[in-house]
């Protein structure tokens, strides 16, 4: 099945589940008709509720979803679509109050009716969930604390919504309709259990041991893992895995790109820059530490976008998946032309630069460095990757290369705009963003 067909199928499946639910609610026996605004508010609430359930499917790390769209795209869709669900669900009481202002009394979370009370609590839980996600950095909430609160508030919203529907719902007037709604949410929450409990149990049978912790330039560490008692993992160059140290059940799991060659399954490496609480401790991880990898994930790979040549554009530690692509191409003896445009603050921070020079011998590789703070006598590019830099360096040839960008979000936005300014079609551009929460 082609990738575009998969895209269409998944979108149709997403919308289909929600639309089928609406059709089921219209199935006889139906309650007496009410004014348009009231029925509209109910429809929005049903749509929002099923959307919330499907949010759990989106984060279940299904390989088909991951490889088709890329985890970053799926997670951003998860985040954007949560806003739509929130709007639809909040619109439910607002429209009812607009239709009948006396119903404003029902917005009291302590109202003496469990049907109304649970509806209020569900909405407040959902609003809190969204606020904590949007404002996590401003609130200085740790990733782990956010994740626990996100899970609990998500489940609470779903459960409270079902209690509200059970007590107050007029469309769930027959058992099968109520069971249909409950089944959708049960599957959704079961997926959460799968991700948090079943999948880690599977990972426990495939442990790795930390075999090397190697310092690179620019506060980057190469963390090497060797499979313990199994054959390792096949991944595609550019993909990533969730790294867990110590236990597969730990909540301290973080996504990192594989930096090693995809041809070497006997030793897997991640390139990790010291950027936060967890990454600051990477350099001191003891050799022999047990580790687990949930992966591979992602659609950001040269193997998934075959082309006659590639342009790889890295900002800082965004080099990690791109060095994996270069190493893999070299190990395969692949001589397709590759250009690497690599932006870093200072020359001494350019991670893997010695190896990149060596790779030039094994690849048809052209490298352009650009520095924010160049050393004295530097005659290369300076500043950010912009339209002018691309105009000066992008290869002019009669075939279409594919472009892979990885780096901080502002850098990716700027490079995408610069590529567009250089008439590079969007269909050839691939980007990997990890600033997801």
């Amino acid at each position: 099945m082609g990738i575009r067909t998969v895209h269409r199928s998944l979108v149709v499946a997403y919308l289909g589940v929600i639309l089928i639910t609406l059709i089921a609610m219209m199935w006889r026996p139906t309650p007496p008709a009410r004014p348009f605004l009231v029925e509209l508010s109910l429809a929005l609430a049903f749509v929002g509720l099923v959307q919330l359930a499907l949010q759990f499917v989106l984060i279940a790390r299904f390989e088909r979803l991951s490889v088709s769209y890329g985890v970053d795209v799926i997670l951003r869709f998860h985040r954007y679509v949560a806003m739509i669900a929130l709007l639809f669900i909040v619109a439910h009481p607002i429209i009812l109050v607009l239709h009948e202002p006396a119903m404003a009394a029902l917005l009291n979370p302590l109202y003496n009716d469990w049907g109304v009370r649970t509806a209020n609590w569900a909405i407040y839980a959902l609003i809190l969930l969204v606020l904590l996600s949007v404002l996590r950095k401003q609130l200085r909430l740790s990733y782990e604390a956010w994740r626990i609160s996100h899970t609990l508030l998500g489940v609470a919203t779903i459960v409270l919504s079902h209690v509200h529907v059970h007590i107050s719902g007029r469309y769930t007037n027959v058992l099968w309709k109520e069971l249909l709604l409950i089944a959708i949410s049960t599957v959704a929450v079961a997926l959460l259990v799968y991700v948090r409990l079943v999948r880690p149990a599977q990972l426990r049978r495939r442990p790795y041991l930390v075999s090397e912790v190697r310092p690179e330039r620019g506060s980057v560490w190469s963390l090497a893992l060797r499979p313990e008692g199994h054959g390792g993992m096949r991944f595609l160059p550019g993909q990533f895995g969730y790294l867990k140290l110590g236990s597969p059940y730990t909540i301290h799991e973080h996504p990192f790109s594989f930096s090693s060659s995809a041809e070497h399954t006997g030793q897997i490496e991640f390139a990790i820059k010291e950027l936060g609480d967890f990454t600051d401790r990477i350099g001191s991880v003891p050799i022999g530490t047990v580790a687990f990898i949930d992966g591979p994930h992602g659609a950001f790979s040269t193997d998934l976008s075959q082309a006659p040549g590639y342009v790889l554009i890295a900002g800082g530690v965004g080099i990690a998946p791109l060095i994996s692509m270069l190493r893999t191409l070299a190990d395969r003896g692949d001589r397709r032309p590759v250009q690497l445009i690599y932006g870093e603050k200072r020359w001494e921070d350019v991670a893997f630069r010695d190896e990149i020079e060596e790779l030039k011998e094994r690849l048809s590789l052209d490298v352009v460095y650009t520095l924010d703070d160049p050393p004295e006598g530097w005659d290369g590019e300076t500043g950010y990757v912009d339209a002018g830099l691309l105009r000066r360096h992008l290869p002019q040839e009669g075939f279409e290369r594919n472009y892979f960008i990885c780096g901080p979000n502002p850098m990716i936005d700027a490079v995408e705009a610069a590529l567009a300014a250089n008439d590079v079609p969007a269909r050839l551009v691939h980007a990997e963003r990890f600033d997801l929460v």
Partner: protein, 177 residues
């Protein structure tokens, strides 16, 4: 992959779902009242035929469990209320229009609040629920001789009364409590 694919997907999903909700609201609204599937035999109260009792009782019982049992325990005072003057109508009014206020109950003034269910249940369901309250929990033995069960037509006839929730308690019969 095209840029901003997730944003485009979100807009697409949001637009489709909003249109679907608008369509649902319109089709289900007064004046249209569209339902899917052909109208089949509905469980309900057909006249006062106790031979059909099993059907309506089971249906009412499922509604009671889902919608009423959360707030109500066994309502064993219903036969007394029903038998009092005006009690038959009062029960219908409470179910349709709710009740809000204070009344003299069990020797003291008590606050009473009941949600209106006029737009929650159709006439058949409403009659079935009223009849359930008449006969369940041993109430049937306490009903007056020759009691006629509620009918859907009786509920339908009561709907136009449209009594404000605060005035329903005015119709509560005196029961010597």
């Amino acid at each position: 992959m095209a840029r901003n694919v997730e944003r485009n997907l979100t807009y697409l999903a949001g637009a489709v779902l909003l249109i679907a909700a608008l369509g649902f609201g319109l089709l289900r609204s007064e004046g249209f009242g569209v339902s899917v599937a052909r109208e089949g035999a509905q469980p309900g109260v057909a006249g006062n035929e106790l031979t059909e009792r099993y059907t309506w009782f089971a249906h009412a019982d499922s509604i009671w469990e889902a919608r009423c049992a959360g707030c109500h325990e066994e309502l064993t005072y219903i036969p007394e209320l029903f038998a009092a003057a005006g009690g038959r109508q009062y029960l219908v009014d409470v179910m349709l229009f709710g009740a809000l206020g204070e009344t003299f109950l069990y020797g003291e003034m008590q606050s009473l609040r009941h949600r209106p269910f006029a737009d929650q249940f159709d006439d058949e369901d409403m009659a079935a629920l009223l009849n359930l309250m008449l006969v369940a929990w041993g109430n049937e033995q306490a009903l007056p001789e020759g009691t006629q069960l509620y009918t859907a037509a009786e509920v339908a006839a009561a709907r136009p009364r449209d009594i404000p929730q605060e005035e329903v308690l005015d119709g509560r019969p005196e029961m010597g409590q």
